[in-house]
Amino acid sequence: MMAANKNWLSVNRWGAAPALLFTAACFVAPLIAMALVSVSERIGGHTVLTWTLDNYRGFVSRSDGTFVSALVNSIEVTVTVTILSVFAAYPLAYILAYRVPKRWQRVALVAIVLPFWTSYVIRSYSWLLVLSENGIISQTLLNLGITDDPIGLGNTRGATVLGFVHFFVMLLTLTIYANLSQIKDSYRKAAADLGANGFQTFLHVTLPLSLPGVAVGAFLTFVLAVGDYITPQILGGGKELLLPQAIMLQIGRAADFPMASALSMILMLVVTAAYLLFARYLRMERV
């Protein structure tokens, strides 16, 4: 070991340097650049750093209110998605962890979340197939005589929420299952020995012990959903914008990088706020 340490090219000493330099150059520096551009303005086709807050003022004061409502829409959709996904995923993870024989659990888990690995674009398109006017749901309802006219469910906020919930039910099933499967069987046995019935055991033992896993999963869901462009763009259509769609419009059609940067900073602020909220919740749980 001594000889190796004298080597100036030692991986032991410098191994992390390339990755750290890369992260600094291609992640930290671009974020700083973006923060600076968000306080710049466009003068004659150039972006000039003037330390202006106009972009942030524009966010609030823009006459048609597009940006503020994009933020509100984003938060509404993301909170709805997070709550629905947690309540749908928990029973599934619970059944997997406690009702499926141990040796089959991993296979069952991998099989159930297989569609997790379709790309956002393909997954959203698939839901479009299901929800469209001549899609399978509309056709089934017609055949059953429940409705007389074909119904198109695409291009609505409901479709966006559905597409998101579909993905995050799988993600949350993974994180909640991981947490539940680590809770020792002896805890639940002890509760039963002390006279608790199944529901009491769940309420006072399993549920509190699984909340950290739920919180981690819910936080991930919030962060990934609030920053996603594809799902609302394909399933929600153009009727109402979410924040990432507003950012893409500023980059693409408007070519307004300062505004896009300011919106991105606000998006990061939302994520940070969510983190602080969840972190506090976790700490309170521990007390």
Binding site: L20, M34, R99, V130, S132, I136, M170, G227, Y229, S264
Partner: protein, 260 residues
């Protein structure tokens, strides 16, 4: 089966239907013998796959996706491996801060990473290209590669490395002939996870490329034509590749768990 299991069973069936419904519809109607990928199913045909493989734009994009995914995943795995090796074997005092910095990109939305890179490239006068897309994909994959490899580095490997060094191997030789062979399932798993994510990624590819584009970008532009069985065929193909890679990763890590 006990009576109390029935609600659980029903719940699982409902969940599985919900989770698999869009995928089944996607795959089934990629074989549609008709012009619209919607019911009724008119019979089995491979014509949309023929059309897909005959489409030059799609095939170019496929090549680009494989190229970007392959190279960016090799880079992310290599960077992640070296960092994991250093931080596992000789953490040093700054290790927690280093780990924090390496994992930080995971918390930031892809759209923000893409915009940041776009601003920097514009400032430096670097045009949009597949190379830029590849850099973006290394940014999002490096944390995952690092985490996967770091989690698989254990004390038993360190002992074997020490033995190699005591027997006179140089550090470099010990790394190549001892550490890498011991870690190869983790390295391959990291590579394939990175490849799967790069293969599927849209926002960075869309914003940082111009003429040469990757498969998800072409698929997204296909959506403008509405529901189209070719899109089903491409989607099914992309999904099949992802599933193949995921199963491979699962087998690699399962083997690792058994050996470990």
């Amino acid at each position: 089966m006990k009576a109390r299991d029935i609600p659980a069973l029903l719940y699982v069936i409902a969940a599985v239907i919900f989770i698999f419904l869009p995928v089944v519809v996607l795959v089934q109607f990629s074989f549609q013998d008709g012009l619209a990928p919607v019911p009724p199913f008119k019979g089995f045909s491979l014509r949309w796959y023929d059309k897909m493989f005959a489409d030059r734009k799609l095939m170019e994009a496929l090549g680009n996706s494989v190229l970007v995914g392959g190279l960016s995943s090799v880079a992310a795995t290599a960077l992640g491996f070296l960092a994991a090796f250093k931080l596992a074997r000789r953490p040093g005092r700054a290790a927690p801060q280093m780990r924090f910095l390496l994992m930080a990109p995971i918390t930031v939305s892809y759209i923000i990473i893409a915009l940041g890179l776009l601003i920097v490239f514009n400032g430096l006068g670097i045009g949009k290209s597949l190379f830029a897309v590849g850099l973006g994909h290394v940014v999002i994959n490096l944390p995952l590669c690092f985490a996967v490899i770091y989690s698989q580095m254990g004390e038993h490997q360190a002992n074997v490395e020490r033995a190699a060094l005591d027997l006179g191997a140089s550090e470099f030789k010990a790394l190549i002939y001892v550490t890498v062979p011991m870690l190869w399932p983790a390295l391959l798993a990291a590579f394939f996870i990175a490849f799967t994510l790069s293969w599927d990624e849209f926002v960075i590819a869309q914003l940082l490329s111009k003429f040469d584009v990757t498969l998800p970008v072409v698929i997204f532009s296909l959506l403008r034509t509405g529901l189209n069985p070719v899109t089903n065929a491409v989607g099914t193909f992309v999904f099949a590749v992802s599933i193949g890679l995921v199963v491979l990763v699962e087998l690699l890590l399962a083997r690792r768990r058994r050996d470990g």
